[in-house]
């Protein structure tokens, strides 16, 4: 114990840790019937940590390249001890991470946590979600199997419809006119270097904002007198609950990885005709399916182009919600923001379901 406190003293002298500790010990988490949503961000963070850990492990054996990527994944799955587990966890955790990020985002939206002063927390959060989806898109191609190959082909095609810069972006993304080994190398670089770097910085910012500003309290509780506000200390109360939930999530993750391991699929044959039923990852489904419904031409413009533009505009609008939010006045029966949120959520869910049924 003595050595421990000595080390702490040594560090404290240099880095002035005491205020930090002070801050941490005083940190409180408000208690109310929406407290459950506070955990979603933490779960997403935990899954991100799992992604980093398993991702680094996969890097030890993975080899990018159209003639080695598939083979190396098969090698990981069949010859490397626990390789199947690491890979399966990486795949499942990726999906769960996006899933929890969505929940986290919508809960933030509906509890109005994005309002002043937390505008930038919301913006960074939204960018993190987009980056997470980019992670998913780039990682999906890396095993170089049939489904991934064609999904990437279709997915990158969509980039090509952007006016003026579309074809340039398409080539930039694919590393050529078509999806080839060159695309694989690019996606690999994006997936393991570019995205993690940006993502980590943004996560740090996001967390810093949260720590600095504390948890947001729902509107209806804000006006409560201070003595009526129930709270719990962040450490250890909230922290231990967080840890408990993380453990449960980890076990669910293990269960999924073991009982529903991710398939390897068949190696991509770049010249084979596309197999029937090519579907993107579920979190792209609503966009993919909507684009399918658009007519080939809207007025003089290409339908797809209009669709992509619409999604871009909607995404930016969503990201900037804190800045244009329609505040409901007292006595107003219908809440504009609530309707917007419910509409967006219903749209996403319904179209996704239709996408899977058709």
């Amino acid at each position: 114990m003595k050595t421990g406190s000595k080390i702490f003293q040594w560090l404290d002298e240099r880095f002035e840790l005491t205020p930090v500790i002070e801050f941490m010990s005083k940190k409180k988490v408000p208690l109310h019937n929406h407290t459950i949503w506070y955990y979603m961000g933490g779960v997403t963070l935990f899954l991100f940590i799992v992604q980093v850990a398993t991702g680094i492990l996969l890097l030890l054996y993975y080899r990018p390249g159209s003639d080695s990527a598939y083979e190396s994944i098969r090698f990981i799955l069949t010859k490397v001890n626990f390789g199947w587990l690491i890979r399966s966890i990486h795949s499942w955790s990726a999906n769960l991470m996006i899933f929890f990020a969505f929940i986290h985002m919508f809960s933030t939206f509906f509890t109005r946590a994005y309002q002043k002063p937390r505008e930038l927390t919301w913006v960074t959060g939204f960018i993190l979600l987009v980056l997470g989806m980019a992670f998913g898109f780039s990682g999906y191609l890396l095993p170089w199997n049939e489904l991934a190959f064609f999904a990437t082909k279709v997915g990158t095609d969509i980039v090509g419809v952007i006016p003026f810069v579309g074809s340039f972006l398409l080539e930039l993304l694919r590393g050529g006119e078509d999806v080839t080994g060159a695309t694989l190398t690019r996606f690999y670089g994006i997936h393991v270097a570019v995205l993690p770097a940006i993502f980590t910085v943004l996560v740090a910012l996001h967390l810093l904002f949260v720590q600095r500003q504390g948890m947001s309290v729902p509107e209806n509780l804000k006006d409560l007198p201070e003595e009526k506000m129930r709270e719990m200390p962040f450490f250890p109360h909230f922290f231990l609950r967080d840890a408990l939930l993380w453990m449960v999530v980890l076990n669910v993750l293990l269960f999924l990885a073991v009982f529903y391991p991710w398939d390897l699929g068949f190696k991509a044959d770049t010249f084979a005709p596309a197999p029937a039923g090519i579907k993107p990852e579920w979190y792209f489904m609503f966009m993919f399916q909507t684009l399918k419904y658009l007519p080939a031409h809207i007025l003089v413009f290409e339908g797809e182009m209009i669709g992509v533009l619409a999604f871009t505009v909607a995404g930016i609008a969503w990201m900037l919600v804190p800045f244009w939010e329609v505040k409901s006045r007292k006595g107003m029966k219908k809440n504009v923001m609530m309707i917007t949120g419910v509409a967006a959520l219903t749209f996403i869910i319904v179209i996704t379901i239709i996408g899977y049924l058709s």
Partner: protein
């Protein structure tokens, strides 16, 4: 300044001259020295089938090389003077001897190709074509009919009328023309049948020159329909094991006595269809029931062999399906792959053994193969089982995580 321009002009003109010169030099020198060709090109009286890559022309043998005459003079009278050796165009009857002047003489031919055969004319006269020609038939094929007169190329040359891929088309010119073949009383559907056969599709569609063309069975210059004795030997050049098994089977003797062509009876000849296991059965597609009927030994043998085969194939297919499943799941498929490969090899062997018509031999091999297939299936099962064993590990981890979670839960409770 002006003189400078002139110099540039002169240099440019010289360069152009040089470049046209070199293009002309690429051409066969015959076109500049041989007066027969020079003149005939000028008056546009060249043979319709003339091709400048003709092998004779390439070797420096020009018009006079075959037709005689004097290529060194541009006076047509002198050039085509019989006194100067001009022989003109030979008649069909004369053609074999005409070509044979050189081609039957190894002294002449060895200068060009030391290993070349010189028995073409001799062989030719043993063929139906040759014999009829001798009898005065003016329609049968002679050298030119197949080789052309002025675009003769080596059979290895893809453009040659005698290249394996082109042979069926060459023979077809006469043999598929009912009008032309009317007086000979032989069928004209060989080409048509051949194109749908295993050999025809392999050769013409897949360009597999290992697959036989007309001449591979009928011979080149000595073309005749293979006789009763030779059919099996001809097929046996490639299907060696099939022939061996057949020859030592009791069927061989029976076939010979009944004057049935060995392979052809069941497989056809020009229209050889891809084989199926249904052929050796008693079903609709059976070839056995042509002679055998219920109750005799052959009939029961067919039933047994068919059963052995289909049992084996069924297991094989099952193993194949398992392999795909394993592959897709991303589990270790190498050993299964090899077991299946062996099973496949055995399947080929078993199907070949059908030609012994001995149910015992077929059964033995089929069993061997079936075991291999079962081995593959078991390996696949084991893979899948291993897959389940992973769940114990999961259970183990779950215990710790659960205890940890429960302990955490109580810890949290005790704090509140």
């Amino acid at each position: 300044m002006k003189s400078f321009l002139i110099i540039i002009w002169i240099i440019a003109a010289m360069l152009m001259l040089i470049s046209t010169r070199s293009a002309a030099q690429d051409k066969n020198p015959v076109f500049e020295t041989d007066d027969c060709i020079i003149c005939h090109i000028q008056i546009e009286m060249m043979p319709a089938d003339f091709h400048q890559n003709d092998i004779h022309l390439q070797e420096g043998l020009s018009c006079a090389g075959c037709h005689g005459g004097d290529p060194s003079t541009d006076d047509p009278e002198l050039a085509m003077d019989r006194e100067r050796g001009f022989v003109g165009v030979p008649s069909r009857q004369e053609t074999p001897e005409f070509c044979g002047k050189c081609h039957s003489s190894i002294e002449v031919m060895r200068k060009f190709r030391p290993r070349i055969a010189t028995d073409q004319v001799e062989q030719y006269f043993t063929s139906i074509h040759g014999q009829k020609l001798k009898q005065g038939d003016k329609k049968v094929a002679e050298c030119v009919a197949c080789h052309t007169a002025h675009s003769i190329m080596s059979a290895n040359d893809g453009r040659a009328s005698t290249h394996p891929l082109n042979v069926p088309g060459t023979c077809k010119t006469c043999h598929s023309d009912p009008e032309y073949m009317k007086e000979y009383d032989i069928p004209t559907d060989q080409f048509e049948n051949f194109t749908v056969s295993v050999h025809g599709t392999a050769l013409l569609d897949n360009k597999d020159t290992g697959s036989p063309a007309c001449n591979d069975c009928h011979g080149n210059h000595g073309a005749t329909p293979p006789g009763l004795e030779s059919v099996s030997h001809i097929c046996g050049t490639c299907h060696a094991n099939n022939l061996n098994y057949f020859s030592s089977s009791p069927m061989e003797k029976a076939f010979r006595e009944m004057e049935i062509h060995a392979c052809e009876q069941c497989h056809g000849y020009h229209e050889v269809i891809p084989t199926s296991d249904e052929m050796i059965s008693v079903g609709e597609k059976s070839v056995c029931t042509t002679c055998h009927s219920e109750g005799d030994v052959g009939y029961t043998a067919a039933v047994e062999i068919h059963k052995d085969l289909t049992d084996f194939v069924q297991k094989y297919n099952e193993a194949e399906k398992k392999l795909q499943e394993i592959k897709k799941k991303g589990m270790d498929d190498v050993d299964i792959l090899f077991a299946l490969q062996e099973a496949n090899q055995t399947l080929i062997h078993t199907r070949t053994l059908v030609h012994t018509f001995d149910p015992l031999q077929v059964e033995e091999k089929a069993e061997e193969g079936k075991e291999k297939a079962i081995e593959a299936i078991n390996l696949a099962r084991q893979e899948i089982e291993d897959f389940y064993i992973r769940r114990y590990g999961f259970g183990f981890a779950t215990i710790f995580i659960t205890i940890f979670v429960v302990a955490l839960y109580f810890k949290v409770r005790s704090l509140d």
